[in-house]
Amino acid sequence: MTSVENKLGNAANFVDERIGAAGWVKKSLNKVFPDHWSFMLGEVCMYSFIILLLSGTFLTFWFDPSQRDVIYQGVYEPLKGLKMSAAYASTLDISFEVRGGLLMRQIHHWAANIFMAAIVAHLLRVFFTGAFRKPREFNWILGILLLTLGFVEGLFGYSLPDDLLSGTGLRITSAIIQAIPVVGTYISFFLFGGAFPGVGFIPRIFTLHVLLIPGAFLAVITIHVMLVWYQKHTQFPGVGRTEKNVVGHPILPVYMAKAGGFFFVVFGVIAFLSAVASINPIWLYGPYTPGQISAGSQPDWYMGWLDGLVRMAPPLETHAFGHTISWNILIPALIVPGIVFTGMALYPFIESWITGDKREHHLLDRPRNVPNRTALGVMSVTFVMVALINGGNDILATNFALSINQIMWFSRIGIFVLPPLAFVITKRLCLSLQRADRDLLLHGTETGRLLRLPHGEFVEVHAPISAEKAFILQSHEQSAALEIDDVDSRGVRRPGSIKNKLQRRLSKAHAVAVPKVTEQELKEIEHH
């Protein structure tokens, strides 16, 4: 035994005799992690969160979250002598007078954008592969919660510098709060500490941004990751992979080295982006004053779709009994997002209700093999994309010499027409891909070699595909639609017939598939 091993052994012994850790650590170190590039999307989320914590802590050392007026006396000439909030002035100081301060601001902002992008990509991966199915519904809901927290945290974060752009965002935020019937005006006055922009909002969202919400994030992320650990990771179908096992690399050393290395890669890429690509140059916007605005005011990318929905809303207000209800704000800013997020959170249960499938699933679906779900996903993405495009309608109009009114009308009509269209097209594409899989199994892959037969006919030679690939193409299960009768065995009409009918119809639509290759068909083709 070397002396290093001796020392390590002593340390381990010290710990184990006090908390008996060897048992569960041994178990944990035997954990196996399946390999697939898409499994690193969740890792990107976690790593960018850690980067946010580190860079954010650095920024708090100099940032002054106060709306008190100061006269700027720093090194940035164009703003010298101007009245501004201490929050804005200290952000300028971080950018110009703290060495590496601008870099940290950029890292913090880039990491936030990448954090949200990685959450969305991770969510899409989990959705399209069916990883949210039993037993992972809790983790799906926690994921939706993290996404929602991300929106709020991001909005608060980019509002803190109190520049002209972020102040405009807060103006819109206050208008959304004011639009809530009955209590909106009061909530707005309490949150802002008076009439907009008030005196209290920046210090208050600072506390929420650096303490309360990161605390919630930490708690939820911990549970999220612990559940992945406890329930073990899902895996893609393949030879040797079943619902009862998990095949991959052990945590020590390969997974640890790869995941640990990947953290530094993510951090390095974000640092590089921050060094060469400037975002949110607040010194160009100037301090916030409600009487001014810059053209092309845009929120961060993940807020764009909400802004786009608000932009395309029809000018609807109800005036009655001395009160005003702003449907043009309530519907796009509160009601539609509420439906979208609730629907997302409930989806695992909705799908299990449609399919009647209450079993555990650890093998992932290939998206084509579940056409209905895949089509629904693409439909939702299309909805968000149309809204996002409209959120940038002013930028699109000026850059491509288009009419802003036409883009708006395109979006107003497109938001209703394009998502269903995307559903239909995607479903058909999925079925076509299933058909292609079937052809591949039956006839093999095209080789590009042409053969001339004795009687003059040309044919292309097909080569059989590998056994591993054949297994993957054939391993999914196809379940029949649910059969729900309107009457029970005694001929009595069941309660809830509308619900039954809906379930039957959805189940039928969900079960549409190109039949898998049967043994019989394989035998027949062998004889040719």
């Binding site: 060495r99 208008a175 009487g291 001014q292 043994e519």
Partner: protein, 331 residues
């Protein structure tokens, strides 16, 4: 083609194909050197960061093609940090991929459902625990507990009451009163009606005693846009036309949709556009909404001139400015 195309026995993992580094000692040596070089690059990055931090002044700019002039200190710190992190990560991954074992192993899953006996035990324990409380039998405790809990919920809400003042009439009123002079923003100068030429656009605020001490909450509702057109360009009701002065019309600059500053004026079409959500208002028709999500025209300020010829408000706004709110009486 035979049945073995689709392996029915899927417990067999495909045979592990050895990597070059597993069989060729030269390749192994090379991979080792590559990892060492990557670690060295990371070290160089750290040194670059330290050098830029200490020795590069923060007012030195260097020209980088495509990026233009860049602050040398910020760029050095940034690139150094990126290198030190990135190559550290790449080195670890390269090490893992080429030199550490790439044999996959199999773990078995267990069903998450607890055993039936555990579940029964659990139900029994809970039932016994609940029964021990005897809430069903002790009606008095049950009711007083309910009442206490209901009251208990109120203080946390009440404690937040002092976050801000009550709205009162703050959203309904502005600092414009009959006789208030219009002053330029910025500049704080009163405006002679005769100084405005046709086509001119000026942002104004109500004259106050200490213009430097204007609260932001006043600037959030007081700004007004003055626009001078030819009187014959207007298509206004007589009532609204009477609120103009010699072709000069005054609108609240605060958007009736979400309160952004309606700052974009198009001379040709005489349209005002809000940059936030593209609500478009036609100045000639009393800032009527002709496009976008805003539901109401911009409130118009009644203006005239005082004895010296300076523009003044003839009356306060006759409706609340800015975005809608529940208490707004729009009748």
């Amino acid at each position: 083609m035979s049945n073995e195309l689709i392996p029915s026995d899927n417990s067999a993992i495909p045979v592990h194909a050895p990597r070059a580094t597993d069989i060729n000692p030269k390749a192994e040596k090379r991979a080792e050197q590559q990892v060492a070089i990557l670690f060295a690059l990371s070290g160089i990055g750290s040194l670059l960061l330290i050098y830029s931090y200490i020795y590069v002044a923060n007012d030195v700019f260097i020209f980088i093609p495509i990026m233009g002039d860049q602050n040398a200190q910020q760029l050095g710190i940034g690139i150094g940090m990126a290198m030190s992190l990135f190559f550290l990560g790449i080195a670890a991954i390269h090490w893992a991929k080429t030199l550490m074992s790439d044999k996959e192993v199999v773990n078995h899953r267990h069903e998450f459902r607890s055993s039936d006996s555990d579940r029964e035990e659990f139900v029994k324990t809970v039932k016994e625990g609940v029964a021990g409380v005897e809430l069903g039998r002790r009606k008095l405790i049950k009711r007083s507990l309910g009442a206490a809990l209901a009251l208990f919920a109120l203080p946390p809400v009440l404690l937040l009451r002092d976050l801000g003042p009550l709205p009162k009439k703050q959203l309904e009123t502005t600092n414009w009163k009959a006789g208030t002079r219009l002053v330029t923003d910025p500049g704080n100068r009163p405006i002679l009606a005769s100084d405005l030429e046709v086509g001119a656009v000026v942002q104004v605020l109500p004259a106050v005693e200490h213009p430097d001490e204007r609260a932001l909450s006043d600037i959030a509702k007081d700004p007004v846009l003055l626009i001078r057109l030819r009187p014959e360009d207007f298509q206004l009701t007589p009532q609204k036309f009477a609120m103009t002065h010699d072709g000069i019309i005054a609108f609240s600059k605060i958007c009736s949709h979400m309160g952004c500053a309606v700052a974009l004026y198009e001379q040709q079409t005489k349209h005002l556009l809000c940059p936030c959500h593209q609500s478009t208002f036609d100045v000639t028709r009393g800032a009527k909404v002709i496009f976008g999500p805003a539901a109401r025209p911009l409130p118009q300020l009644d203006i005239t001139v005082d004895a010296q010829g300076y523009l003044v408000a003839r009356a306060a706004f006759n409706e609340p400015v800015g975005p809608s709110f529940w208490e707004r009486n729009s009748q």
